[in-house]
Symmetry: C2
Subunit: 343 residues, 2 copies
C-alpha cells in the first residue's frame, strides 16, 4: 500500500489525509518563492521588536537581554469585549469573544533564529511559556491558551526578529477542541491517554521517529499533512507546561533546537514553519486525557523555493500529500545536527 494512493486516519482529530506517493515525481512549473537568505544585523534600528526601540502607539521596548513579552499592539482578541450574542434560528449564531494576545521576543538579537540560539537561551523561552500559561490561564475568563510561532515571511510573519505569539481565548478554539474530544473519548474507553500510547508505539516502531532525547521525541505523525510536518512530544504524559520537570524543560529546549537545525539543514535555508503547543484547556478541570505536544507545520516541499500549496482539492475536499511520512522522517533523520551556517 505504501507506494499507492491511500488514505490515513488521524487518530488525534478524527480526520483523514490522502497520500499519493507516486505523485512526488511530477515536474513543477508553478510559483517559485523567494528564498530567505539575507544577512541581518544584530540590532536593527527600524525593528519594533529590538531592545530599546519604539513600537506602534509610541510604546518603548525595554533594553531586554534575554526574552521580552508584551500585549500585542494589534490584538485579534481583547480583554474587554462587550458581552453579547446573536441568535436567529440555528443558521445565524454568533457570540462575543474575549481574550488576550501577546508577543514574545525570543532573543534581543535581531539576527538569530531558534536553531542558532544556545539551549540555555531557548530554555528561557520555554520558561516564559510556562509563566505565561500559568498567569494568563489563571484569568477566570480565559479557557484556552494558544502558544505559537510563525517563522518566515512565507508564513505571514511580518518581522524576522525571533518571536512567537500567544492568543488566549474564553472559548476553546476549533482545532484543540477536535483533539480534546478524541482524547477524552479514548481515555474513557482505555483509561489511558491517546498520545501517550501513540508516542510509545512510535518509539518502538522507529520508522517515523526523527530523533529522541532523554525526555522528548520528534516524529513525523502517521497522519501528517504537510510534507515535513513533525510533532515534538514528551515521552511521559503531562497535561500542560506546568507539569514539566526542570529536566524535561531542558530536554524540550534541546529538542526544539535540534529539530529546527535539522529543518534548516534539509534545504540549507532558514526553514519557514508555523509551530505551536497543544495542551489542556485552562478551565479549572483535571485533564488526564491530555498529553501536551508541539506541532510543526512547514510549507516547503522540494527545495527552498518550492512549497506545497494547500489549495483547491485540499480546501474544498481533503488534505493531500505527495511523499509518505516515512520517507520524510528518513530524510529528516539523516540531516546533520550542526547548523549549515557553522560548517
Amino acid at each position: 500500500m505504501e507506494d499507492h494512493p491511500h488514505r490515513r486516519f488521524n487518530a488525534l482529530t478524527g480526520e483523514w489525509v490522502l497520500v499519493s506517493p507516486h505523485r512526488a515525481k511530477r515536474p513543477w512549473q508553478g510559483q517559485i518563492e523567494k528564498s530567505e537568505q539575507e544577512k541581518r544585523p544584530e540590532y536593527d534600528p527600524g525593528c519594533y521588536l529590538c531592545p530599546g526601540n519604539e513600537r506602534a502607539g509610541g510604546y518603548l521596548n525595554p533594553k531586554y537581554d534575554s526574552t521580552f513579552v508584551f500585549v500585542n499592539d494589534f490584538s485579534a482578541l481583547m480583554e474587554k469585549s462587550p458581552a453579547g450574542s446573536e441568535k436567529d434560528g440555528e443558521l445565524f449564531q454568533a457570540e462575543s469573544e474575549s481574550g488576550i494576545c501577546k508577543v514574545i521576543c525570543f532573543s534581543p538579537r535581531h539576527d538569530l533564529t531558534i536553531p542558532q540560539m544556545e539551549v540555555d537561551a531557548i530554555r528561557k523561552v520555554v520558561d516564559l511559556w510556562c509563566d505565561e500559561y500559568r498567569q494568563i490561564g489563571a484569568e477566570p475568563f480565559i479557557h484556552y491558551v494558544q502558544i505559537f510561532e510563525n517563522k518566515g515571511s512565507m508564513m505571514g510573519c511580518s518581522n524576522p526578529h525571533p518571536h512567537g505569539q500567544i492568543w488566549a481565548s474564553s472559548s476553546m478554539p476549533v482545532e484543540p477542541m477536535k483533539e480534546q474530544s478524541r482524547q477524552s473519548d479514548y481515555y474513557n474507553r482505555h483509561g489511558r491517554a491517546l498520545l501517550t500510547d501513540y508516542v510509545e508505539a512510535e518509539v518502538k516502531k522507529k520508522s517515523r521517529v526523527v530523533f529522541e532525547n532523554e525526555h522528548f521525541v520528534a516524529l513525523v505523525p502517521y497522519w501528517a499533512v504537510w510534507p515535513f510536518e513533525t510533532m515534538l512530544a514528551p515521552k511521559r504524559r503531562v497535561a500542560n507546561l506546568l507539569e514539566l520537570t526542570d529536566a524535561e524543560k531542558q530536554s524540550f529546549a534541546a529538542a526544539y533546537r535540534e529539530l529546527t537545525i535539522i529543518y534548516d539543514n534539509l534545504f540549507e535555508v532558514s526553514f519557514p514553519y508555523s509551530a505551536g503547543i497543544h495542551q489542556a484547556p485552562t478551565d479549572g478541570k483535571d485533564h488526564p486525557e491530555w498529553h501536551l505536544h508541539m506541532h510543526f507545520y512547514p510549507p516547503l516541499l522540494r527545495s527552498a523555493t518550492v512549497k506545497k500549496f494547500m489549495v483547491g482539492y485540499e480546501m474544498l475536499a481533503n488534505a493531500q500529500r505527495d511523499i509518505t511520512p516515512e520517507t520524510s522522517a528518513a530524510r529528516l533523520r539523516e540531516q546533520s545536527r550542526v547548523h549549515y551556517s557553522q560548517r
Copy 2:
C-alpha cells in the same frame, strides 16, 4: 457586537470562525505578492494545455475549439489502486483509495479567464461539468466527484491557461462529509434542506448578498473565513448538477461570470482563488438534504499584493478574519459589472 471580536457558527460545517473587525487597521510589513498583470498571447507554443500542443508522456491535445477534458497526467488518485488496508489498533489505520483525476480546459484561448469569456462559452464549461459528473459518478467505485478551479499562481496554479480540475474518489472527502452530516441532521429535524432555508433567509436579509439573477444568488456567507469568500447557490434546491434545468445552467454561467468580474474589479487585478462545487455524493442514494453550491476562496485581503495568511493561530487553533462578511459583501456589491480591462 459587529465592531468587536466575536465568533460565528458555520451551520454548514459545525465549526466556528473568529471575527476581529477592529484589526483591519493594522499596518502590513510582511510579504508582498507579485501581482499578476502580464499580458498573455492567445496561443502559447510552450503551454501543455493549448490546442494541438504536446503534454507530458507525449500525448497530443486535439485542436479543440471550446472545452477539452483529459485524464490528469499526474493524477493524485488512480483507477486501479491495489485494494488493501492497514490496521494496527485504533491509532494506525489506513485504506487504499481509488479515484479519477481529470483536467478541464475552459477555452482554447490561452489569454482568457472566466470573467473575460462570454456567457455562452462559460455555459459550455457548465455543460461539461454536468457530463463529467454524470459519467464519472456512474462508475460503481466512485462515490464523490469534486469539481474545482485553482486560479492564479498564488493559489498553486502552475499554468495560467484557463482550466479546472476534477478529483473523484471512492471515499467521501473530509469537507463534503462535514456538510453532509450537518445537512442530514438538519433535514431529519426539519424535513427541509439547510441551505435552502439559509439562501432564502439571506435573500430576505440582503446585507450579505452580492447579487442575484433569476435562478442564482452570490453571497458572502455569515461564517465566511477568507476576506472575500463567497458562495454561489441556486435559489431552488437541487442536489446535484444533473437536476439543473437548461435555464438554471444558463443563470449559473452568467453568475460565475458576474462574480469573477466583480472580483477582478475589486483590486483591478486578475483575482486569484480556489473555487469548487459541493453537491450530493454519487453513492446511488437519494439526497434530499443536499443543496448544490459553489464556494469561492480568494486569498487577497487589502490589495492586489497583500493576502491573508492562514497560518499560526489559524492552523493550530481557529480560523480568523479581520473584516466582517457584511463589509466585504458591501464592497463587492458596489463594484462595476464591466471588467476593468474593457473600461
